[in-house]
Amino acid sequence: MIAERVARFMPPALGVWRSRALRVPFWIRVSVFLAVVGLSVGAYGDDYVTAVAVSVATYAMLGLGLNIVVGYAGLLDLGYAAFFAIGAYTAALLMTIGHWNFFAALPLAVIFTGVAGAIIGYPTLRLRSDYLAIVTLGFGEITRISFNNWDYAGGPNGVLDIPWPTLFGYQLSSQIAFFGVSLVLLALAMIFAQHLDNSRLGRGWVAIREDDFAAEAVGVPSLKLKLTAYVMGGMWGGLAGAFFATRIGAIDPTSFTFTLSVYVLLLVVLGGMGSLPGVLLGALVVVGLPEALRGFSQYRILAFSIFLIGMMLVRPQGLWPRIRRKPKPFYGMQDEESENVAIDILQEHQAEMERRDLKHAAARHKAPVDGEVLLQVEGMQRYFGGVKAVDGVSFEVKRGEIFSIIGPNGAGKTTVFNCITGVQRPTKGRVLFDGRPLNGLRPHQIVSRGVGRTFQGIRLFKGMAVFENVMVGLYPRHRTMTWQAMLHTPGERKDELRTLREARRWLQFLNIEDKAGLLATELSYADQRRVEIARALAAHPHLLLLDEPAAGMNPTEKMELLVMIRKIRDLGITVVLIDHDMALVMRVSDRIAVLDHGTLIALGRPDEIQKDPRVIEAYLGREEDDAELAEAAGH
């Protein structure tokens, strides 16, 4: 926002320079900026200013870590000080009792904090966010009190006489030397955070933050990603903690209270959630402002709280919010001919399917060929209290066919989908896919087995661009590791480029490439449905479940949809369709199953279904009813 406003008053030449500057890799920009800050503080600052600057840097490190947890993954953590404490104590004990050098203790402190994060995160991260807030708060308090009561770590007195770090035999003891070390650590923390943000992990986190449930259902392992965010955030906190310990020289439990957690959260929100420059600015305000107000000593926290409340009223998005530039998703990529696209997709998809069939065969399972049973639903029941949404439904879907499920509202169609995709557990019954049971798997595992789906009420990630939505769908097919993402290795870049290219191809396949840069919410209803289909296809499913794709479409769009469904089948993908549009269903389906009140009342070819008296009865009511009604009316 600020940047835009400034840009408006800048002569065009400066604008050019600005966009050139933005093209410089992030790590160079950060390093240059921090070097300039370091040199100017070194040249002009006295000891007091430098000491405050070191504090700002420490808080900024903490903020960067919490920003991953809260800003990226959307998990409200109120006990972040615990990580700071664990990092500080680990380093302090290693350095005092073990006589380790700081630079040897630092990595261990970081790793140890990460492990602690994993231990506490694993059981608790499946909780709803408000509950997570109190659990993390509790974790923070437990950690602090445990250190307070732990005699080995000095109890309430803490650890004293922590040595200063030595580097190549040279002892770092001045404030300015600490400032140098803190800037290097801060630069690392910023660069890694930025790399994570721009990787598939970052995309997965945003997807989870936007819609946890939909993310899981399109193949993002949400629990694992939340845990990753939590552990990463913990490691950043451990880094800051270890640095804090050696800098202060003596630590005790009062440095790691709930208030610290709150201050770090404040600086993240003040700066603008998810924004890296925002974290630096937030740290400057949260640490610097009370220092600047030191003259009013008694009133400074008071003034700070008023500032905070006012700030939330005037500028709730933060001081330097994350700027969303209009994305040019495929900038600089070569255009492909549409025929080539279709051929590429077909080839790639078939290769993908063959690969999976081979893997399947290696696991001693026979992969079904065209015409053999792909999906088998056996006696599926799903009760909600006393309501029998699905009551003993069995059917089989053959590989390569278009299979429709129809029925009046409330017949249990969507519930069948939910039970197949693992979103809901069937009360009873089995679902077999490729001859292997799907029961008990989590939704993202079912996606990677080869089942894709769309939703009845569209569930796109609203804050993400169209192409990013499709890229989330490609999540299960990434091959990069977290460390590669963190270092932004060439392998990771190649993988990202491949993902982008594939996302584009799927958008071309569905004829919406021109809308790739728009936000999902800016699209028409029909286009949103198309994006959902593209997102589901991107994972290369064997089986695609479409839940009322024609709802809200006009006749022309429905015709296009019909063509599209056939095109999808021609890729070799089996399609199961739920829809209320009989014209569409009758024309496109090979076979149709009819549900009513949770039971299967008919199954067969479209012409058989149209003649089936039970189906007619379910949809139109019985003729006797009409006769009775007519009689009652006095005819």
Binding site: I134, N148, S305, T414
Partner: protein, 300 residues
């Protein structure tokens, strides 16, 4: 058995204070999904208003019933006014925007109340009149129960029962429950949403202030930082019982009070919070909606 019962008496007394504050958390959360971090500090405000009346203005010299009634009613009303002001100026403009912004505002409000109290009443510990209430009691076997404990526990129960009847029995209480389930549907049915939100804040403040005065009477000493720990315990209690659930908050408060008393009695005071939070985390991991919370069904 003797010590156990003695701890139980202490635990229930303290627990009833927590329960009152927890109710405030739960009511506000139920209506606008906000964890109102300032809830504990409202209690502190109530305690200080009570102190101002009793000590600074000399109400302690009035006949006991008059003094006590005044020391409850006036702070409760005063705190309600404060909370309405907070709602109007700080939360209201943010209600339609991000929940996190309100949450941060609530944290800021907690800081503000604490520091304002420090400026107004000073940082030192202030003492309630120690001999206002009789310090005697009676014994049941080995267990000593003071009249103060009985009276405070009784007042808490009375307030909770009143709240329960109000929410279950009156039209506006029904409107509150409806709003907690579905904002839009409630609005379409003609419920004045703003009015219900205001009511929730008033109720929360009334209960918090009452608990603050009771804490002052029970522990005699009050300080401007007292709201923090109280709020933390009460928040824990609300979540333990299943946030948004009124009987759950009452039960949660009692459980936290008892846990605290048993830990202090059998283990050591310094492990209090570890046990309280440990139990909370265990309960949530086993039953993610709290002890009495209902499963939230999601429609796809």
């Amino acid at each position: 058995m003797g010590p156990f019962l003695q701890y139980t008496v202490i635990g229930l007394t303290v627990g009833s204070f927590y329960a009152l504050v927890a109710l405030g958390y739960t009511i506000v959360y139920g209506i606008i999904r906000l964890i109102n971090f300032a809830q504990g500090d409202l209690s502190m405000v109530g305690a200080y208003l009570g102190w101002t009346l009793l000590v600074a203005l000399g109400f302690q010299h009035l006949p006991l019933p008059v003094a006590i009634v005044a020391a409850f009613v006036i702070p409760m009303l005063g705190t309600a006014v404060v909370n309405l002001g907070i709602l109007q100026f700080a939360y209201k403009p943010l209600l339609k925007r991000s929940l996190l912004a309100i949450l941060i505002t609530a944290l800021g409000m907690s800081l503000l109340l604490e520091n304002l109290a420090e400026v107004i009443w000073g940082a030192a510990i202030n003492a309630y009149p120690p001999d206002l209430l009789p310090s005697t009691g009676f014994a049941i076997g080995p267990v000593h129960v003071s009249y103060v404990q009985v009276a405070l526990f009784g007042v808490s129960l009375l307030l909770m029962a009143g709240l329960y009847l109000f929410i279950q029995g009156t039209t506006i209480g029904t409107a509150m429950r409806a709003l907690a389930v579905d904002h839009d549907a409630a609005r379409l049915m003609g419920i004045n949403v703003d009015q219900v939100i205001r009511l929730a804040f008033v109720l929360g403040a009334l209960l918090a202030a009452a608990s603050g005065v009771m804490l002052g009477l029970y522990y005699v000493q009050i300080q401007f930082t007292m709201g923090f720990l109280l709020g933390l315990r009460a928040f824990t209690a609300a979540v333990l019982g299943g946030i948004g659930n009124i009987p759950g908050a009452m039960a949660g408060g009692m459980i936290i009070g008892l846990l605290e008393a048993y830990t202090t009695g059998y283990l050591s005071g310094k492990w209090e919070d570890v046990v309280v939070f440990g139990v909370l985390i265990t309960v949530l991991v086993v039953k993610p909606t709290g002890l009495f919370g209902e499963r939230v069904a999601e429609r796809m």
